[in-house]
Symmetry: C2
């Protein structure tokens, strides 16, 4: 049920179903507990202090961030244990060291000896020691060192021996999981992620270098792993909202998706049987991540405002900057979607969609838009 | 040449080459003069007061906007003649009427009798009269009425007779031009746009209803039209920066593109011969508008910082949220792109890319980042 005050919100805007979100948060927390690992939520999806607090273990609120602006925003809100999980470049260290000088522990990610030395030199010059993680590539997805790359021990030794850095552990992101097309494939991918990252840690330890932590993660592998033996920490982010890509992967149901875009029907194109809505490429993003999945959801599925449930047969077929185009199937009538009426759009990729907005309108159990929570965008 | 202070900018950020932009602005202004029509730039691309002032005829600064927030932002900066070129819904009229009550002339776009009556009723209730344009569909691209749709005269009459509205004219956007694959096809499409929109105006006038203005536009048709006989006004926006989609259409050269994203090389993936850069899906957008063109530019072409010229063989092949992946061809060496070095990315679609940023860093003739100009994002 959605209360009357939602009807008064200017569109497009983000609606966040608090009950669904809490269920998603509880599910991942239970997974981490069951697997015996610490959960370090990735807050690049939500970019919200209010949401991050709900995602974290209150006893040890550890988070992952993807930009220095996130690090600054969350540090200002009292978060201390912050892993900046994008390859550090020495030129960025000034902003990071400024946070650590004020009491945060922002940690860096790297994969090269030269970077380790340069980061260490900058930290040393300010009298600081920075915790550094080494990125491991477990599936050729993006970045990091192969577990058997001889450079791995060189990097670990450089971090360990450079005065300004301290080795925290090894870290991977199994982004290749997004190409899996079955639950079995996801489970295998999660096991590959675990095995290869644990092997990288063993390689470092076998060289006599302390490697305390083993951090793995991605929402689909986190929800598919049977064991995380040898792993100490799990990172995931998009689970907080879920989205159509995750539903397509089979790790959530459409009804678990907590984030929708509220939109208005702005015109009827009767000859072409199209609804025009005010959620276009900027409001939804041009992420078409379901294109290669079993169900191509276009640029999002159309849902009713009342219950957030998809309207069968309706999706956003095309987007221009401020227009979404929804083809109306023969069994539906324009009269059901008058100009000025509202719809909700389930996003393909929640991280990309949310990034266009400054705030969330949080729906409480009664469907009332009871609070507005800000986001931190940009860099 | 790019001056030393650019090297100190945090990345990713937007660089705007002022000389290139001015040349683009001058080119379109000359086109409008040559074609004998008023230019009403679409400021949804730049969303910047500083840039809009350069785009406009100082004697009559008329602009087109795509959101009410743009209308409010530009009205606050002194712009008065503002065409809100997205189908109006009556629920939005309060914000619009508030601007007009303070002296602006924000005009609406519509294509239905019921909308015309509802808009008129709201305006009348505040004692205002709103200028309304009727949207015409010239190529089945998106929205509007066919020039020969009998409803057209009904809508025109409703606007004309409803006390709170006044008919400004007919308006179209030939978005189908983006599917053209040759200069000849573009010229034909521009002529179709002109002919059909002029025909719509004639239909209205033949019914005895005054229809003063005929507004057409899109950057590719504006630059391809041989005649705009019967047209009074030309709208276009992306020409101010141009982008790879426009270059692919053949209406600009790559060297005309005035907007680039400054990025940093953050890692080398040597086994896979990839550069990792800090311009990913959020920094570039996921617009892949060149995918169907002759040259698929991935998510952008990689250019040197020094001169903004593309580095042959380098493009952004894939994007994640904060990572861009650039495959390094066999003839190029990692040593030419050290970690921490800077590159520029030419965007596929300037409107989408710019929307991720709060400001432009404006490069002067010496390549110095001499000014920062804010943007107005959101709704």
């Amino acid at each position: 049920m959605t209360a009357a005050n939602v009807a008064g919100l200017p569109t497009p805007c983000l609606l966040l179903d608090r009950q669904r979100m809490q269920a998603n948060i509880d599910r991942m927390a239970a997974r981490a507990a069951e697997l015996g690992v610490r959960l370090r939520p990735h807050v690049k999806t939500c970019k919200s202090v209010e949401i991050a607090r709900l995602m974290c273990d209150p006893g040890h609120p550890a988070i992952t961030v993807s930009t220095l602006r996130e690090a600054e925003y969350f540090a200002a809100a009292g978060f201390s244990d912050i892993l900046y999980a994008v390859s550090i470049v020495p030129q960025r260290m000034d902003r990071l060291l400024a946070l650590n000088a004020r009491g945060a522990n922002v940690q860096v990610l790297l994969d090269a000896v030269a970077t380790a030395r340069a980061v260490g030199a900058v930290a040393t010059a300010t009298g600081q020691v920075v915790d550094a993680w080494i990125e491991i590539d477990v599936d050729g997805h993006r970045a990091g060192l192969q577990p058997d790359d001889p450079v791995l021990v060189d990097v670990a030794r450089a971090v360990h021996e450079t005065p300004g850095t301290r080795l925290a552990g090894v870290l991977t992101h199994a982004g290749g999981a997004y190409d899996c097309r079955s639950a079995d494939a996801l489970e295998s991918h999660a096991e590959q992620e675990r095995r290869r990252c644990v092997r990288a840690a063993r390689t470092v330890r076998d060289a006599g270098i302390p490697c305390r932590e083993v951090s793995v993660g991605s929402t689909p592998t986190a929800l598919s792993a049977r064991s995380l033996a040898g792993v100490t920490e799990l990172r995931a982010g998009v689970y907080v909202f879920f989205d159509l890509v995750q539903a397509g992967l089979g790790v959530c149901r459409t009804d678990d998706i907590a984030l929708t875009v509220l939109t208005t029907v702005i015109s009827h194109n009767r000859p072409q049987r199209r609804l025009l809505i005010d959620a276009g490429g900027l409001a939804l993003s041009k992420d078409h991540g379901t294109a290669e999945q079993r169900h191509d959801c276009g640029y999002g599925l159309v849902a009713s405002v009342a219950d957030g449930r998809p309207v069968p047969g309706l999706r956003v077929d095309a987007v221009n900057q401020e227009h979404g185009i929804v083809a109306l199937p023969p069994d539906l009538d324009f009269a059901a979607f008058p100009v000025g009426s509202r719809l909700r759009i389930l996003p393909n990729h929640a991280c990309m969609t949310a990034a266009a907005y400054e705030e969330y309108h949080v729906l409480d159990a009664a469907g009332e838009a009871s609070e507005r929570w800000p986001r931190c965008n940009g860099w």
